[in-house]
């Protein structure tokens, strides 16, 4: 049920039809850009003598969705990672955190939104493939179930051993992504970050956040205990002195101190 896009960069001819289709579908200005931006959610780049298109990887355990304080980004069961502009407060943590640096911002607007590819979630809801996949004249990008796309990718790697780097980018990176790439040249040369871990990045904060409840409970006990211990010492001193200020503490056992 979780859909994926397989991008085979060895087939891309750099025509840019996917870029035009994306801009049409999303109502974006048709200016040609070299990098992703608030106006360009899908871009074709020329690197290492090869054409490669870049867009949101739609991670299985998306970093952006995990860091958003108000849950404006969510991974859907259908596959796309979608953005709810009504929730977003504009903190831009998603931009900071994304290992692929995908989310972009409408810096020029007084009421800005985060912008990124949605894998055409609205079109998918109607049973259509993403506009970029549909527009590709050579089927460099294909669309289907993640398991199918992985199987197809592995088949191509097997059958054309020498034509490809033997790696499917997105299979395991950051716990796996819905967008998968095949390439004849090293992925780093295409501008993909090489050092992303295979653990989903949200694990890195989960390891710490999961300790919060125990910090609170242990801490409260510790502080309360220290207060109690150091408090009693002074009571004892006063009792031994004979108590010059009259009757001891009031009923609650707590002293009023400034």
């Amino acid at each position: 049920m979780s859909k994926s896009v397989l991008v085979d960069t060895t087939k891309c001819i750099g025509c840019g039809s996917c870029v035009i289709a994306c801009k049409e579908t999303n109502g974006l200005p048709q200016n040609e850009e070299k990098e992703l931006s608030a106006d360009t959610l899908n871009v074709v780049q020329s690197r290492a003598g090869v054409f490669v298109r870049k867009f949101c990887m739609h991670c299985q355990d998306p970093t952006c969705a995990s860091v958003c304080p108000v849950g404006a980004l969510k991974k859907t069961a259908a596959g796309p990672v979608v953005y709810d502009a009504d929730r977003c407060i504009g903190c831009r943590y998603c931009m900071m955190a994304c290992p692929f640096s995908i989310p972009k911002y409408e810096w020029k607007l007084a009421l800005p939104k985060v912008k990124k590819c949605t894998m055409c979630a609205p079109r998918q809801a109607q049973g259509l493939p993403p506009a970029c996949v549909e527009a590709c004249p050579v089927q460099a990008s294909i669309f289907g179930e993640r398991s199918e796309m992985l199987a197809e990718a592995e088949k191509r790697l097997r059958e054309n051993h020498s034509s490809y780097i033997q790696h499917i980018y997105g299979k395991d990176e950051v716990g796996g992504t819905s967008v998968l790439y095949l390439s004849a040249v090293p992925f780093e040369a295409l501008g993909f970050p090489a050092n992303v871990p295979h653990d989903p990045l949200p694990m890195y904060t989960y390891r710490v956040l999961s300790k919060v409840p125990s910090v609170v409970t242990v801490g409260a006990l510790l502080l309360g205990g220290i207060w109690w211990i150091t408090n009693r010492r002074e009571e004892v001193v006063h009792a031994e002195k004979g108590g010059d200020e009259g009757v001891g503490t009031e009923g609650k056992g707590r002293r009023t101190k400034d």
């Binding site: 970093t63 995990s66 860091v67 108000v70 900071m96 911002y105 020029k108 309360g224 707590r254 400034d258």
Partner: protein
């Protein structure tokens, strides 16, 4: 002194403050009419800059003296520090208040700042920071409110506050522990982007310990400035004691940091000359090595000027560390250079200036430095008026 001559004097610092606030005013108009792109040097490659790196990360850390000193007095019962609690709480309260204002500038949609109250994502460190900071700001307001209630002689609220002081302080320490460390945790999510000099699985602990250290340095710093500005005696014996604690905290931080860098193989990188190496060196020298060396001498710990110098260095080192984590360490992977626009700087300086101004106003109109001595331990239920007025 006749009342006719009560116009404020124009001193150098007041002129500087006026200039800063004027530029800040212009920048504010620009930020809210033309957006973040016009008012800042932020970009898609560098979405977080001075307002997060300095105003939030440094601002929250510099206010850490509030919880450490409150804990010392109310939980550890170290009564002798009582005279410096209230100005420290005021510094903390103003500090956190200014962080909230800075966020209103930095957020793309500041009118939605209340969203985390009703839209929850507990997996997000930022969600946790937002909640802790909101709650802690409330705690600080309550901890400082006795100064206001005393001014207006409102006994009932004063009594209620005195009754809840200890639980309030405990909650304050817990909240502070959580969010001071969480500011470091914010950066756990970028292992492939943040430079190894500053990326560490220990970021939350490092941020927490350094916050405690700089909180103490801020107490020394603020005490010195207040003494000069308001013509007060400085409480040297207390500051000397605090400096010994600061020495231990700095040593502990230094050890943690060194072990962390060594175990991740980051020290090897220091052989290559680079901007990062230079800035790490500066951060360690200024914030750790020199202050530690100086604090080892009792003569320094007992000298007002010596302690002030140490405090300034520790604060500078702390600021550099936070800026290195949030800006320097991310530059290489971002493929961009970030330096704040003058408008960003003017907003930051204006907020700091406003903080100084509010502090001075509070000192003038409220009892900040001489809170009434602790009331008699007994409160006679029949005579409520005596309890808070008498020594």
């Amino acid at each position: 002194m006749t009342d006719l001559r009560r116009l404020p004097r124009i001193t150098f610092w007041r002129a500087v403050l006026a200039l800063i606030l004027a530029t800040g005013f212009y920048s504010t108009i620009l930020r809210f009419s033309k957006g973040l792109g016009a008012a800042t040097a932020l970009s898609d490659k560098f979405p977080w800059g001075l307002w997060i790196g300095f105003d939030v990360l440094c601002g929250v850390g510099l206010a850490a003296g509030g919880f450490t000193l409150a804990a010392a007095v109310y939980i550890f019962h170290l009564e002798r520090f009582h005279p410096i609690v209230r100005p420290t709480i005021l510094t903390a309260f103003l500090g956190y208040g200014l962080v909230a204002v800075a966020l209103l500038f930095d957020l793309g949609r500041p009118y939605r700042i209340w969203h985390p109250l009703v839209m929850w994502n507990p997996r997000s460190v930022m969600f946790e920071v937002a909640w802790c900071v909101m709650l802690y700001l409330t705690v600080l307001a309550l901890e400082f409110s006795p100064a206001v209630f005393e001014r207006f002689k409102l006994q009932r609220p004063l009594r209620i506050l005195k009754a809840i002081t200890v639980p309030l302080v405990i909650v304050g320490v817990l909240l502070s522990t959580l969010h001071q460390s969480s500011l470091g945790s914010l950066y756990l999510i970028v292992p492939s982007k943040l430079h190894p000099y500053w990326y560490s699985p220990w970021l939350p602990v490092l941020f927490y310990v350094s916050a405690i250290g700089v909180g103490l340095a801020m107490v020394i710093f603020e005490s010195n400035l207040s003494a000069r500005a308001f013509g007060r005696e400085i409480e040297m014996p207390l500051l000397t004691e605090l400096s010994r604690v600061m020495l231990v905290v700095l040593a502990f931080y230094g050890l943690l940091r060194f072990q962390d860098l060594a175990s991740r193989g980051a020290l090897r990188l220091m052989r290559e000359p680079s901007t990062e190496t230079l800035l790490l060196g500066l951060e360690v020298l200024l914030g750790l090595v020199v202050p530690l060396a100086m604090l080892l001498f009792p003569a320094v710990r007992e000298s007002r000027e010596g302690l002030f110098a140490v405090a300034v260095m520790v604060i500078a080192g702390f600021l550099l560390n936070r800026l290195n984590v949030s800006i320097t360490g991310l530059e290489a992977s971002s493929g961009a250079h970030y330096f704040p626009k003058w408008t960003e700087i003017s907003v930051t300086l204006s907020l700091a200036g406003a903080g100084f101004l509010c502090f001075a106003l509070a000192v003038r109109y409220l009892n900040v430095f001489e809170p009434p001595a602790p009331p008699a331990r007994v409160e006679c239920p029949a005579e409520p008026d005596r309890a808070s007025a008498e020594v």
